[in-house]
């Protein structure tokens, strides 16, 4: 029941990915022509170094959060609290490491467990109490960062722990370990959503929750599950960021990441109103945002312009994906609502 007819789905999948891929291709092509050494990669100490690897590494937290966010958006929800969950998970990990004597597995396990609790809290508010997702997750967005600050007493907690630092700074098979984590998450979520009925249920819930419920889909459980998964992804991203800077910064960790993640997901072809989703598309969206940022930095354009460029990209992508915009473009301004 859960399996999809891949033969029929494939062309559609490629069509969804077309625009984000074209945009990413444009950015890379621009760099190929105008940024010497952008594609240069070299092996140092058995690790790959270069701008492309740097983009992958820097985009890793957003990619992770975007993967979880894809499922949430596909059910027609939204999760604003991912940044706060990242801050909490990072703080918990830093506190446990500094306590001493806690094995690495337990540090990661407990931090992720806290993220699961945070995700279930969101899921409970949305699925069981039927609170609008944007308000439900706003609660944790506002108070979650406060909780993280309470844990760390408002300080940046630094730590020294080589095995934990591997999470955000290590290399596996020449690639940054954080990228490996992203790929692993993609594969797990991809298998869960495409090889079981879950993906179908998620899309059904997002398309029409009432009809899905009548058709026997337990929409409440589906919603609960996606918020928990999103929380786990955010927790993992929080651990990567904490391990990368060797410290937990409750004030700034994951600040505004929810917006970047939502943006990445939407660029990747998943609609804000729910329904069909594409995990790979979200990753491409996150990579597009990061390669734009890196391009702006390497071209010596002042950082302030990044935001303006981002605004233009959002509008361009939105207009490209909107049927009404194409109609207006092709048929003049006749098609008013």
């Amino acid at each position: 029941m859960g399996k999809r007819q891949t033969g029929r789905r494939m062309p559609e999948g490629i069509a969804t990915l077309l625009w984000p891929l074209v945009a990413l291709g444009c950015v890379l092509l621009f760099n190929l022509l105008f940024t010497p050494g952008f594609f240069h990669m070299e092996v140092k100490d058995g690790h790959l170094f270069g701008s492309l690897i740097d983009i992958l590494n820097r985009a890793a937290p957003v990619m992770l959060v975007a993967l979880g966010m894809t499922l949430v958006l596909a059910t027609g929800g939204v999760d604003l609290s991912v940044g706060a969950i990242m801050a909490i998970a990072g703080s918990v990990a830093a506190l446990l490491i500094n306590r001493g004597g806690v094995p690495l597995g337990a540090v990661i396990g407990i931090s992720i467990a806290v993220a699961v609790v945070a995700g279930s809290w969101n899921g409970m508010l949305v699925a069981l109490l039927n609170i609008q997702p944007i308000v439900a997750t706003l609660i944790l967005m506002v108070s979650g960062r406060g909780i993280a600050q309470l844990l760390t007493n408002g300080q940046i907690i630094t730590f020294e722990n080589k095995p934990f630092e591997f999470l955000g700074g290590g290399f596996l098979f020449g690639l940054p370990f954080s990228v490996t984590l992203v790929l692993a998450t993609l594969i797990i979520l991809g298998l869960v959503s495409r090889r079981t009925a879950m993906g179908l249920f998620v899309e059904a819930t997002g398309d029409n929750a009432a009809a899905s419920r009548l058709a026997g889909v337990d929409t409440a459980r589906v919603k609960l599950l996606v918020y928990v998964l999103c929380g786990v992804c955010a927790g993992l991203a929080g651990l990567i960021v904490a391990s990368d800077i060797k410290g937990a910064d409750a004030n700034n960790a994951g600040m505004y990441i929810e917006l970047d993640a939502i943006l990445a997901v939407v660029i990747g072809g998943t609609s804000l109103s729910g329904g069909r989703f594409s995990l790979v598309g979200s990753l491409i969206g996150a990579l597009l945002i990061q390669s734009l940022t890196t391009t702006i930095l390497t071209k010596g354009i002042p950082v302030q312009f990044t935001l303006v460029v981002k605004a233009i990209v959002i509008l361009a992508v939105c207009l490209m994906q909107s049927g009404a915009a194409w109609k207006t473009l092709l048929g003049g301004f006749g098609g008013r609502r």
Partner: protein, 339 residues
């Protein structure tokens, strides 16, 4: 409680009482919080503290009142904080670098804010784009323009602006209403009038309730939407101007994350994020509650600032639950939440 309800009913005869339970709840919480604060810290009850509370939170209040209209129409505006930062730095740069007349600079910035708002509204109207994304783009654009204009904050010492920032209405001994508070109260009165007694106000409620129905009724839903976002942009720009006067400097990073505080004030004020239900007065009460929590934490002295965030989160939760409960009772069962 029933006394308060009765009073409200008499004062606002047009509105059905059940819809106003959230507003009454907000009012009661505000009153209880004030009494509790007064018992614990008698100093908090002085008129001076109250007037300062209005003045210190005026820019948030003005922005939140604009956001109320957007949310009542069923939309959302994420660009609020960024427009405040952008208009703050623009006023400062216009006046101190370009030597423009401050009055002209303020008018120009207000126009630019309105223009940005109506631009976003037009994109939402003509292309059917989701407000969340369009105003997200507006947020990046406004913040970007602000930072491109000047990364550093710009101090203002133009005599006219210094004079304007010191303007106040004396209310008695050592208590006076500052210019920020005056603007806030003026905006509140105008917004109350517009939302309750004008055609535009009724249309906003109508589209928020059901866009399809209001279109079928022959209401100009499209143009009303554009106007709503224009109004939101205007209010945010005005909030930016008030912020500039309040600090006598322009700062491009002013108002970071303020859009969420504004939304919190609106939700605590009993307005539903799905649109159609709510009240401008509720937003004002929500603002007072947020300000009061901050003042209490300042008075307490040892509590850290993060308790403010946690308290606001808990209050949000409480109000959302109250609203849910009322809605469920009104509709005879839980409804599916969409956005």
């Amino acid at each position: 409680m029933s006394n308060v309800a009765l009073e409200r009913k008499i004062r606002m005869p047009r509105i059905i009482n059940r819809k106003h339970v959230p507003l009454i709840a907000t009012f009661s919480v505000c009153l209880l919080l004030y009494i509790a604060a007064g018992i614990k810290y008698p100093g908090i009850l002085s008129a001076g503290v109250f007037v300062n509370l209005l003045g210190d939170n005026a820019f948030l209040g003005i922005a939140a009142i604009g956001a109320t209209f957007v949310i009542l129409s069923g939309g959302i505006d994420l660009s609020v904080g960024a427009v405040i930062g952008c208009s703050s730095i623009l006023v400062a740069v216009f006046v101190s670098r370009w030597h423009m007349n401050p009055a002209l600079a303020v008018v120009m910035v207000l126009c630019l804010g309105t223009l940005l708002g109506s631009g976003m509204g037009a994109l939402i109207r003509y292309f059917g784009l989701p407000p969340f994304l369009v105003t997200l783009a507006g947020m990046f654009l406004a913040r970007g323009i602000g930072f491109v204009t000047s990364m550093e904050s710009v101090a203002l010492n133009h005599p006219l602006l210094v004079f304007a920032s010191k303007m106040s209405i004396p209310l008695g001994d050592r208590v006076s209403l500052s210019i920020s508070a005056i603007v806030l109260l003026a905006v509140l009165v105008i917004a109350l009038y517009v939302s309750l007694f004008t055609r535009f106000g009724r249309r906003v409620y109508a589209i928020g309730g059901s866009e399809t129905s209001s279109l079928l009724m022959g209401l100009p839903a499209g143009s009303t939407k554009v106007w709503v976002y224009a109004l939101g942009g205007f209010c945010s720009a005005l909030a930016g101007v008030v912020y500039t006067l309040y600090t006598l400097s322009g700062n491009a990073s002013a108002g970071v994350g303020l859009e969420m505080d504004a939304i919190a004030a609106v939700v605590i004020g009993g307005t539903l994020l799905s649109g159609g239900v709510g009240h401008v007065a509720g937003t004002f009460l929500g603002l007072l509650i947020l300000g009061l929590i901050q003042t209490m934490i300042t008075f307490q002295g040892t509590l850290s600032s993060w308790w403010t965030r946690i308290a606001i989160g808990m209050l949000l939760l409480a109000f959302v639950l109250i609203q849910r409960f009322i809605q469920n009772r009104a509709q005879g069962g839980p409804q599916t939440a969409d956005h």
